[in-house]
C-alpha cells in the first residue's frame, strides 16, 4: 500500500510530527540562505525601482522580441522595450553607469539612428514602497487579531510565522539567483502572501474542528490530534496545490521555455516556488508551531504527563477511528448534563446497532484496543459541550457513524432519523 494510494482513498496515516524536525531544519536552512543572500548580494532591482538610462532608436520593423535578442547579446536582456509611434524603439535599461550606457548606445547604432539618450527616474517611487510597507504592518496586526478572534492566538502566531517564512524564501529566491525585481515581482510576493495565509487558515480550521472533537475524549496529546487533522486535510492541500500550481507551471514551461517569452520566466519561477512553499508551510511550519504552543497549555500538558506515566508518548499514536468519528455525533442533549451514572443506567446493547444501519449510516469502525476502552470510560466527555457549534447544530440530524459497533465505550445516542426532502 503506497502512501499516495492511501491518501487517495483517505486511509492515509502519515506521521507528520516525525517530519516536523527535518522540516524545521530544511526551513531554517532556506531562511538562512535567503537572509544571507539578501545581506550579501541584495536584490537586483529593476529600472522601475532605481531608474536607469533610456535610449531611443529609430528602427522601423524591429519587433520587441528582436530588440530583446539583440540586447541580450549586450547583457541587457532585462531592459524594458517599447515601440513608440510605430517605428522607434525605446529601450529603458537599469544601467546607470554613464560609460557602460555610452557603450550600449554605440552598439545600438547597429539597429538604427539613436535619437534619444537620457537618464530616467524610477516609476515605482519611494512613496509607494513606504505606503506598502506600512499597509503590510497594519495587515499583519489585523490578521493577528482576526485569527485570534476566529480561532485562537496561537494559530495567529503560527500563521504569521508561516507567512513570513514564505515571504522570506520567495524573496530569497530572487536574491540568490539575482533575478530582476520588477513591480510584477512585488505583486507576485503579495500573491504568495495571500495564498499562504488562505491555505494556512483552511488547515487550521480543520485542526480546530478535529481537536474540538477528539479533545473531548481527553485521551490524546495535542500533537496526536494535530496529526489526525493533518492527515484529514492533506488530500485537500495536495489537490489545491496542484490546481494552483498547474496554471503557473504551464506559464513557466509553455510561456517561458517553449514560446521564448523570457520576461515571464523568472516571474513564474518565483510564483511557483512561493505556491509550493505556501502549501508546505501550512502543513509543516504553521501546524508545528501551534502544536508546540498548545502542548504548553496546562490542559494538554496534563494529558501528556498522564500518558507519559503510562509510557504512551513514544512517537505519535494514531487517534482511534472511533474517537475521531464519534466526535461528529456529540451526544444528544448536551453532554454536560450527563453523568457517568446516567451512562451506566442506560442499557448497553448491541441493539442500538440497527438504528444506525437503517438510517443512512454505515458502520465502518473496527474494534478498539483494550487500552482506549478503559480510558474512554474514565474520561467520558464532559467537555463535549465545548465542541464546535456546528457540531451541536448537526447533532440532532447527524447519524452516528460508529454507533452499534461499540459495545464497551461511550454510548452514542439513538440517531433520530433524518428526513430527506
Amino acid at each position: 500500500m503506497s502512501t499516495i494510494g492511501d491518501i487517495f482513498k483517505g486511509t492515509n496515516n502519515i506521521d507528520f510530527p516525525k517530519m516536523w524536525r527535518p522540516a524545521a531544519i530544511a526551513s531554517l536552512t532556506l531562511i538562512f540562505l535567503s537572509v544571507g543572500a539578501f545581506f550579501v548580494q541584495g536584490l537586483n532591482l529593476g529600472i522601475d525601482f532605481e531608474g536607469g538610462t533610456s535610449f531611443e532608436v529609430v528602427s522601423p520593423g524591429t519587433s520587441v522580441s528582436e530588440a530583446r535578442d539583440f540586447l541580450s547579446g549586450l547583457g541587457a536582456a532585462d531592459s524594458k522595450i517599447q515601440i513608440v509611434d510605430g517605428d522607434t524603439l525605446r529601450i529603458r535599461s537599469d544601467i546607470e553607469d554613464p560609460v557602460r550606457a555610452g557603450e550600449i548606445r554605440n552598439e545600438l547604432a547597429a539597429l538604427g539612428d539613436v535619437t534619444g539618450f537620457e537618464s530616467v527616474g524610477p516609476t515605482w517611487g519611494e512613496e509607494i514602497t513606504q505606503k506598502a510597507t506600512r499597509a503590510l504592518l497594519f495587515f499583519f496586526l489585523a490578521i493577528a487579531v482576526y485569527i485570534s478572534a476566529r480561532l485562537e492566538w496561537r494559530m495567529a502566531v503560527g500563521a504569521l510565522v508561516a507567512v513570513i517564512h514564505d515571504l522570506i524564501i520567495s524573496v530569497g529566491i530572487y536574491s540568490i539567483f539575482q533575478f530582476e525585481v520588477t513591480p510584477a515581482t512585488v505583486i507576485a510576493f503579495l500573491t504568495i502572501m495571500g495564498y499562504s495565509l488562505y491555505d494556512t487558515i483552511v488547515v487550521y480550521d480543520k485542526v480546530h474542528e478535529v481537536t474540538a472533537r477528539v479533545g473531548a475524549t481527553g485521551k490524546y496529546t495535542y500533537t496526536e490530534m494535530m496529526n489526525l487533522a493533518l492527515n484529514r486535510v492533506i488530500m485537500r492541500s495536495l489537490n489545491t496545490t496542484v490546481t494552483s500550481v498547474l496554471p503557473v507551471l504551464s506559464m513557466l514551461i509553455i510561456g517561458a521555455f517553449i514560446l521564448g517569452a523570457v520576461t515571464l520566466q523568472e516571474f513564474a519561477i518565483a510564483l511557483l516556488v512561493g505556491l509550493i512553499v505556501g502549501g508546505y508551510s501550512s502543513l509543516f511550519v504553521a501546524s508545528s508551531i501551534v502544536a508546540w504552543l498548545k502542548e504548553k497549555e496546562p490542559r494538554h500538558s496534563e494529558i501528556r504527563d498522564k500518558l507519559e506515566a503510562k509510557g504512551l508518548t513514544e512517537g505519535t499514536r494514531t487517534v482511534d477511528n472511533d474517537d475521531a468519528v464519534l466526535g461528529t455525533t456529540p451526544r444528544r442533549g448536551a453532554g454536560a448534563k450527563r453523568t457517568d451514572t446516567a451512562l451506566k443506567d442506560r442499557p448497553i446493547s448491541a441493539d442500538e446497532g440497527p438504528d444506525a444501519s437503517d438510517t443512512d449510516a454505515k458502520p465502518v469502525s473496527k474494534a478498539k484496543t483494550e487500552k482506549s476502552k478503559t480510558e474512554k470510560s474514565k474520561t467520558e466527555s464532559p467537555k463535549s459541550d465545548k465542541s464546535d457549534k456546528s457540531d451541536k447544530a448537526e447533532s440532532s440530524k447527524a447519524a452516528p457513524a460508529a454507533s452499534g459497533s461499540e459495545p464497551g465505550g461511550s454510548i452514542p445516542p439513538r440517531p433520530r432519523k433524518k428526513k430527506k426532502r
Binding site: S63, W124, N239, I254
Partner: protein
C-alpha cells in the same frame, strides 16, 4: 435541496450569462495594462531649470491625480528636465492629454459675487431683508459690523452649502462700509451676501487665461452644483503653496496651508486678502476662492487683511475630517513644484511584447484546461461542478473588469492577470474543501445525500474564514497604498468576493441537486472506491 437553493442556482446562472451578453452588447472589454497592450505617453518638459527633487515630487503629485480610481496603473517617471507619463490603452490622445492636463494648477481668485440660483432669502431664514440689515447694523458696535452678517451664522436649510466654507466672524471694517440708505440697496446687499439672484452661465474654461473675471461653480461629492461665483483674475497659483495639512484645532477640523515667502507666495495671497477684507469692488463678497480644474473647491471668507505665511487656517462651518483632508490634498496636489509643458505625445506599444502576451494567453488556457482535466479526473461529476462554478465566477469577473476597464480606466496588467490565475486556484479550493468534507463523511458511513447536506455549512464556514482573511488584506492594501499594489488589492478583493458568491449561490446548490440525481451512483462522484472500502470494512 430547497426551492430557495434552486432559485439561487438558476438566478446566479442567469445573472452571469446576462452579464456576459450585456458586456458584449455594450462593447465593454478589459483595459489591458501598459505592459501588455501599451497606450499613450505624454512628455512634459520643465519650463525652467529645476532640481531632481522637485521633479520627483511632481511625479508623485501627477501619479495621484491621474490615477483617480487608483488602479489605472500609469507609469510616470522623471526624465532629463521633464516627466514622462504613460497611460494604458488610451487610443484617444486628446483624452490622455486631458487626463494629465487635469494636473492643472490650483488658482486663488477673489470672489466678486456669489450666486445661489436655487435659494431665496426665505430659504436663508430672512423674511425681511431690510429689517435684517437694519438690525445687524444697529446691534453692531463701533468697531465692526456684527458677525450676524456672516452668512454662516444665520444659515438655513437650502442655503447651507456655500456658507459652510466661510470663515466665522466676517468683519466689515467700518472705514470701508457705508451704511446704506435705501431699501433697494439694503435688499441688494443682503441678497448679495447670501448669493441670492440669477446666476450667469459658466465661463468656458478655454476662454479663461486667468486675467479676466470668470464664472465658476462649486460642486458637492455627487457632482451637484452647490454654488456659483463670479471670480476675479488669478492672484496666485498652486506653486505659491509649499504644503497644506488638515489639522484638528480644538474640536474642529481646519486646513492649514503654508505659502512660500515673497512675491510669488504669501505676498500675492495677501494682495487678494487685503482686497477682500476691505470689500473692494474686485472682491465685494470678501471671500477668496480656490479653484482647481475650473471648479471652485472652496471659497472661505477672509477675516484679516494680512496673513503670515504659515499662520492661515481655513475653517469650515465646520469641516468634517474627510472634507478637511480632501481640501488639504487638493491644495497640495494642485501645487506642482515645477511648471511643466506638454511637449510630445506618442503612441507606445506594450513592453512585454506581443510574443509574451500570446505566450501568456496560450499558457493560461492550457493551464486552465489542465486544472479542468485534473479535477474532473479526481472528482468526476463534482469536478464538473467545480469547473462550472469557476466559469460562473469567471463570467462575473469578466463583466465587472470589462465594465470598470471601459468606464473607470481599471487596467489589467501582467501582475493583475497572475493574481487572477492564482485566485483560480483559490476558487477551485472552495470546491475541494467541500468535496473532501463530503468524502470524509461518506467514509464515515453516510450516504451521499446526507453527506452533501451536512458538509456544506461546515465547509462554507471554513471558506468564509479563509476568504475573510483575504478580504482584510484586500481592503487594507487598497486603502493604504497606491500604484500597482493598489491594483493588486482590488483584484484580490474582487476575486475573493466572487469566490464566495459562486460557492454559496452556485456550487452548493448544484452539488445538492446532483446528489439527488446520482444518489445510487456514488462512483460518479469519485467516491466509488470509498463506497467499496466502506462495504469491505463492514464485512470485515
Amino acid at each position: 435541496m430547497s426551492r430557495r437553493q434552486l432559485v439561487h442556482l438558476i438566478g446566479i446562472t442567469v445573472l452571469s450569462i446576462a452579464g456576459l451578453i450585456a458586456t458584449f452588447a455594450a462593447g465593454n472589454e478589459p483595459l489591458l495594462g501598459l505592459d501588455l497592450q501599451g497606450g499613450v505617453e505624454v512628455r512634459y518638459q520643465a519650463t525652467e531649470e529645476t532640481t531632481t527633487e522637485s521633479l520627483d515630487q511632481a511625479v508623485e503629485i501627477i501619479r495621484s491625480r491621474v490615477d483617480s480610481l487608483g488602479v489605472a496603473e500609469p507609469e510616470i517617471s522623471r526624465v532629463d528636465e521633464g516627466i514622462l507619463v504613460q497611460l494604458p490603452g488610451v487610443k484617444d490622445t486628446d483624452r490622455a492629454l486631458e487626463l494629465v492636463g487635469a494636473t492643472a494648477e490650483l488658482e486663488f481668485r477673489p470672489v466678486v459675487q456669489r450666486f445661489n440660483p436655487e435659494a431665496t432669502l426665505a430659504d436663508a431664514g430672512i423674511d425681511d431683508p431690510v429689517e435684517f440689515y437694519d438690525e445687524a447694523i444697529a446691534s453692531s458696535q463701533a468697531a465692526e459690523v456684527s458677525t450676524t452678517l456672516a452668512p454662516d451664522t444665520t444659515v438655513a436649510e437650502g442655503a447651507e452649502e456655500f456658507p459652510s466654507t466661510s470663515v466665522p466672524g466676517t468683519t466689515i471694517p467700518p472705514t470701508t462700509t457705508t451704511i446704506l440708505e435705501t431699501d433697494e440697496e439694503k435688499i441688494e446687499f443682503v441678497e448679495n451676501l447670501f448669493g441670492i439672484g440669477q446666476a450667469p452661465s459658466l465661463t468656458d474654461l478655454e476662454d479663461d487665461d486667468g486675467t479676466t473675471n470668470v464664472i465658476m461653480a462649486e460642486f458637492d461629492d455627487e457632482g451637484n452644483e452647490t454654488a456659483r461665483y463670479e471670480l476675479g483674475p488669478v492672484g496666485l497659483k498652486g506653486e505659491g503653496l509649499t504644503d497644506a495639512n488638515a489639522v484638528l484645532q480644538g474640536v474642529e477640523w481646519v486646513v492649514a496651508p503654508e505659502f512660500k515667502a515673497g512675491d510669488e507666495g504669501i505676498n500675492a495671497f495677501n494682495a487678494i486678502a487685503t482686497a477682500c477684507f476691505n470689500r473692494d469692488p474686485t472682491c465685494s463678497v470678501g471671500a477668496v476662492a480656490m479653484a482647481l480644474d475650473g471648479r471652485v473647491i472652496s471659497a472661505p471668507q477672509v477675516n484679516a487683511a494680512e496673513f503670515g505665511r504659515d499662520q492661515i487656517t481655513i475653517s469650515g462651518g465646520p469641516f468634517s475630517e474627510q472634507e478637511a483632508k480632501d481640501l488639504a490634498v487638493a491644495l497640495r496636489f494642485g501645487a506642482l513644484p515645477v511648471e511643466l509643458e506638454p511637449e510630445q505625445q506618442r503612441v507606445v506599444s506594450g513592453s512585454l511584447g506581443d510574443d509574451a502576451l500570446n505566450a501568456g494567453m496560450i499558457a493560461g488556457l492550457i493551464g486552465l484546461a489542465l486544472v479542468a482535466v485534473y479535477v474532473i479526473w479526481y472528482y468526476r461529476v463534482l469536478g464538473m461542478v467545480a469547473i462550472a462554478s469557476l466559469l460562473i465566477s469567471g463570467a462575473l469577473l469578466w463583466t465587472i473588469i470589462s465594465w470598470l476597464g471601459t468606464t473607470q480606466g481599471l487596467a489589467l496588467t501582467l501582475a493583475g492577470i497572475t493574481g487572477l490565475i492564482v485566485s483560480i486556484g483559490v476558487s477551485v479550493d472552495s470546491n475541494i474543501v467541500y468535496f473532501e468534507h463530503v468524502k470524509e463523511d461518506m467514509r464515515n458511513g453516510r450516504t451521499l445525500g446526507s453527506s452533501v447536506e451536512r458538509a456544506f455549512p461546515i465547509a462554507f464556514s471554513t471558506i468564509v474564514k479563509a476568504d475573510v482573511a483575504s478580504l482584510i488584506a484586500a481592503v487594507l492594501l487598497y486603502a493604504l497604498t497606491s500604484g500597482a499594489v493598489r491594483g493588486f488589492a482590488f483584484y484580490l478583493g474582487l476575486a475573493t468576493i466572487l469566490d464566495l458568491v459562486a460557492t454559496y449561490f452556485f456550487m452548493g446548490p448544484a452539488v445538492k441537486w446532483l446528489a439527488r440525481h446520482f444518489a445510487d451512483k456514488p462512483q460518479s462522484f469519485g467516491v466509488g472506491a470509498l463506497a467499496a472500502s466502506a462495504a469491505a470494512g463492514e464485512s470485515a
